[in-house]
Symmetry: C2
DNA sequence: AGGTTCTAAGTTGTCGACAAGTATACTTGT
DNA sequence: ACAAGTATACTTGTCGACAACTTAGAACCT
């Protein structure tokens, strides 16, 4: 079972730690869809009081992973359909961001992206799936940030923890499928950069559309299905 | 000064009540952008303990109205640019939803929408701005819900409180500008319905684009500017 | 047996208190 | 006058406790 990178939780509060751990358990199916979890149960599970648990549950609720009800929180979870919907949203956000960048000067941005892709290739050589997925995430986050649109950036931040967790799981799977798959992932990022460089709206639109359509195809086994 | 419809807070917890009240004060400028508010200050302001305040601040933070930092919460607020960005996001969401509905049978949906527009006309006659804005909100929410896309619906729910508050303020202003403006608002909703009825993607796209482009123009005085 | 009321266990919402950490203001030494 | 160190007030994170409410089940009546 994949563990959560503990280095990321170094300066985190108990509430954030619990949220991250619960998020992982919900997405990888340890905690199953339909279950109801109570604050007391989570608190005893992590050996804390209810205060940080309440914070964690509110976070997870705002991410749509659970639904807060009068008695207990119902686990919504993520099946394959939900992850596809997540990619729909990612496409909407990134497509919007890149369209916005089509008019600007992107040379500085392209430099940043190149550095990130370099780190991805390094992570591939070191067989470091966690680092690889993190740089993958950074790549897209850098683009969205560059678009300079507060609300869109906020939208991204609201789905970011889920996207990160899903990428952690799927990237781990890609690593197990050999190096060729990894090279194709990196190539896809170069394609995006070329799209940005062209500064043509229709080219960009097509490139981004293909990117996410392709990403969708490679996730069907690390995510639990509806009937798990 | 516009008050918050107290009927909506009937069954709400203290945390939700505080969140709603703070949200309104931030958006209408009573609490100004750049200020930092502490949990203790809010708690004494509302005469409660810090627990519901923490919940409220977390809510407002997830909506992007404040930024939680180590010492105090910094008020981000909404200036005119931010509201325009909000309309960008609304356009993205609703455009996606309506494109999705272009393929489905929408007769049932159109019936619902007609009933809502009827209520809007009634609210106009009764000079009830609160009811009018609420039905306006319901109109768009009904469309988004009908698209049957969990993630998009969740996105909508995450911006819904802000949209509702902004609509409350702007609608109040439209009411003060006389009946003609109100008729044109209602007409815009009929235009959307006709777009949906056509079931043609390009027609729908154009209609929705025009709707939000037009809505943007009518908000420049109820929202405080950057320098207020 | 079936339906109803009452009890009991469990849940959330809210409170006040304490510890740990941070920024500000003050004091002190030069 | 100014720098450095210290004290102080204020902030958040976490805890345990209590009240109000919901749900499920047991006991009881018909």
């Amino acid at each position: 079972m994949l563990q959560y990178p503990s280095a990321w939780l170094q300066n985190a509060s108990l509430g954030e730690t619990i949220a991250c751990e619960l998020r992982l358990r919900i997405i990888n199916g340890t905690i199953k869809t339909g279950e109801t979890i109570s604050e007391n149960w989570v608190a005893s599970e992590f050996g804390t009081s209810r205060s940080p648990v309440r914070e964690a549950l509110k976070t997870l609720s705002s991410e749509g992973l659970i639904r807060l009800e009068r008695m207990g929180a119902v686990v919504v979870g993520l099946d394959v359909t939900d992850v596809e919907e997540l990619y729909d949203v990612r496409f909407l956000i990134e497509s919007f961001a890149q369209q916005r960048l089509a008019q600007s000067d992107v040379t500085g941005l392209l430099g940043c992206l190149q550095r990130i892709v370099d780190k991805m290739e390094l992570a591939m050589k070191h067989n470091d799936a966690v680092e690889f997925s993190y740089q993958d995430l950074s790549f897209h986050e850098t683009i969205i940030t560059a678009a300079n649109h507060n609300r869109i950036l906020h939208l991204w931040k609201s789905i970011r923890p889920i996207v990160m967790t899903v990428m952690l799981l799927t990237t781990d799977e890609i690593f197990s499928k050999g190096e060729q798959k990894l090279h194709s992932v990196i190539d896809k990022h170069y394609t995006i950069m070329k799209g940005l460089e062209s500064r043509k709206r229709d080219v960009i639109e097509q490139v981004v559309r293909e990117y996410f359509a392709d990403s969708r195809k490679t996730l069907h086994s690390s995510i639990p299905g509806r009937t798990s």
